[in-house]
Symmetry: C2
Subunit: 373 residues, 2 copies
């Protein structure tokens, strides 16, 4: 059952407005999702037009919904290490690290970017789940001397091949010299900022963390003005680009039911390190026994179809065989592409399966390399 | 800045569909919010028409988004007690209790209904936050022998003055004899159910907890058919009715920044009990020192205005003085009514304040008793 017309979103206090909300409305945003209890813009001109602009020019994204969990205090590094199987013993101040967060069973709780601001000062820049409550629960239970909060910090992303000139014009030459997954703390016209070379696309760019929400309008307008000569446009995280590039989306491609090895994040799991992070025994077992299913790329054959709004069934030789986790039509590749969780024996490149869409259509599909090309 | 046209909601796997989703689409739902990472219908005919039907007849609500956290295992009662300041020493099997959940500082994490299904078997039927992660974090940190999960359980609410005859026709006489805030486990045509005399309105009714999502369509259709002779209509939790009745909404009327004493839940806080729940010392201090602000009713004068989409400022004698947390126009009382967090010295009934709306209008308002009459 699918609605025959666009459905409206209810806008209430509970689904909070980011500091850039007014900017996105002025820029003509067409709709929202909700992410970390905050409204997240989903498209402006059209998902496809926004995608092409990201691929060819430069775009400005309100990703204020990437909320931060800030951990400070004498036990801050200890708590941070408890929360991830990634080995953080060499994590430096000024560095970003992509870190799986897992529960005691090794199940995925979130896949944030970790930023180390000081010896005992960390931000987790989150995907969509209340890691604040997980971190606080661990801290209380273990009796750790930490402060765990959601600070007034809201990222604004500048993404696309022309991100560098825009950033240079606003901040100066130094900014383009920030290395990938490094950040600098700075200020602009009194606005307290942190700028990272990062972002949820493979098109290059920056995330500007605004550290005082009162400046949301000022920062949005400043970036839009500075970007005008490079034809900047408002856009959003792109489902098309991120599936093409193989970037994962928490809640879509994985949930608490999946461990990092099943979704290709084993390289961020050091289960042999000395430090006893939460879930270590569970992930050691996974590593020793091997996984039974794996997230892979899938090309779904036939005409252009809408992306899935819920996980679709997959069949192989007439038997149920996994789920489509995310799918979209790629206008660049002129193919329907997807990420799918398949039984390990069906994950070889070239394996043929049948996808059953939410409207009951049965379509052939082929396991494919990611990124899609 | 407000959008000039309705904004669309993005429907993706991450914002999950309840088992009753297809039913709500068939019934003509017009929009959704997101609640506990699940789509929650917001209205059908209009918020006002749906409200009148709730007040005068009977309505069926998809509240599958009230997700359950299930706690079982030898330490289940211990963990459950850790999570709330309410004294659970006399909580019986078959009973529902409205329980604040607070953090180590006494801040509100959620305000669910607790259901005791067995000596060591509990459900928290949740407002909008990931209590699953809080409970799991505490369990891991304290090393408790429990299992904490989100089971396949989805509530469907039958609310309104004609709820009794509908329920009697479907389940038999026994169902109307369930006392308020009690529940029974039962079955209907093979569908595993739990029926509670409860619901997020003061119009009377039931919540039917479906314990196997595969039956979502069957249960929805069965209730709609049985209700036809009582003129049942699809509806949703009503902002109008719940503010009139003084029912609280987590994320709107309160957040982690507020303690239970500030929002009128002191009667559910036994800070002198022997059991050491999380946040006990913090709430003992609050009780000893008294609160500095309090949630009260407010009548906002003048013509009908839209409800707030973010918290509005309040002024008293030219100074900032609290926030409007929720507001709505009541067509029954023909007044704009609100719940507001005010400094304690301004909370006496009859106190006059100024409300500054999100579009900059300044309106007189009067502190009023709740429920509104």
């Amino acid at each position: 059952m699918t609605a025959t017309q666009p459905l409206q979103i209810g806008i209430v206090q509970r689904t909070r407005q980011s500091p850039f909300y007014a900017g996105t409305i002025r820029a003509g945003v067409k709709g929202f999702s909700v992410y970390n209890h905050m409204l997240m813009p989903i498209y402006y001109e059209s998902p496809e037009a926004d995608y092409w602009h990201l691929m060819k020019n430069v775009t400005l994204w309100d990703v204020g919904c990437e909320r931060q969990v800030e951990i400070t205090g004498p036990d801050a590094f200890h708590l941070t290490r408890l929360m991830t199987p990634r080995n953080l013993s060499r994590c430096r101040i000024g560095q970003c690290k992509y870190v799986p967060i897992v529960d005691e069973n090794g199940g995925m709780i979130n896949d944030p970017l970790l930023l180390r601001l000081g010896e005992n000062h960390f931000w987790f820049s989150l995907a969509d789940s209340d890691v604040l409550l997980w971190a606080k629960g661990l801290a209380v239970g273990y009796g750790l001397d930490v402060k765990v909060t959601e600070p007034d910090v809201s990222p604004l992303a500048v993404q696309g091949p022309n991100a560098d000139p825009v950033m240079r014009d606003v901040f100066g030459d130094w900014v383009t010299k920030i290395r990938f997954f490094r950040f600098k703390e700075t200020e602009l016209d009194g606005m307290p900022l942190l700028i990272a070379k990062s972002g949820w696309s493979k098109q290059g760019g920056y995330e500007i963390y605004l550290r005082d929400g009162r400046y949301g309008n000022q920062l949005w307008d400043r970036m839009m003005s500075a970007g005008a000569k490079y034809d900047i446009k408002p856009a959003t995280p792109s489902t098309i680009e991120r599936i093409e590039s193989g970037l994962l989306s928490y809640g879509n491609d994985m949930t608490l039911e999946h461990n990092p090895f099943e979704i290709g994040l084993e390289k961020f799991c050091d289960v042999d390190q000395a430090f006893d992070f939460v879930g270590k025994a569970a992930l050691q077992k996974v590593k020793a026994e091997g996984i039974t299913r794996k997230l892979v790329g899938l090309v779904i054959h036939g005409e252009r179809i809408p992306g899935c709004s819920r996980h679709w069934d997959i069949e192989k030789d007439g038997e149920p065989s996994g789920k489509v986790m995310s799918s979209v039509y790629s206008p660049r590749l002129e193919q329907n592409i997807a990420l799918a969780m398949l039984p390990i024996m069906n994950t070889n490149i070239g394996t043929e399966v049948i996808v059953v869409t939410e409207w009951g259509e049965r379509l052939g599909a082929t396991v494919s390399p990611v990124p899609f090309e």
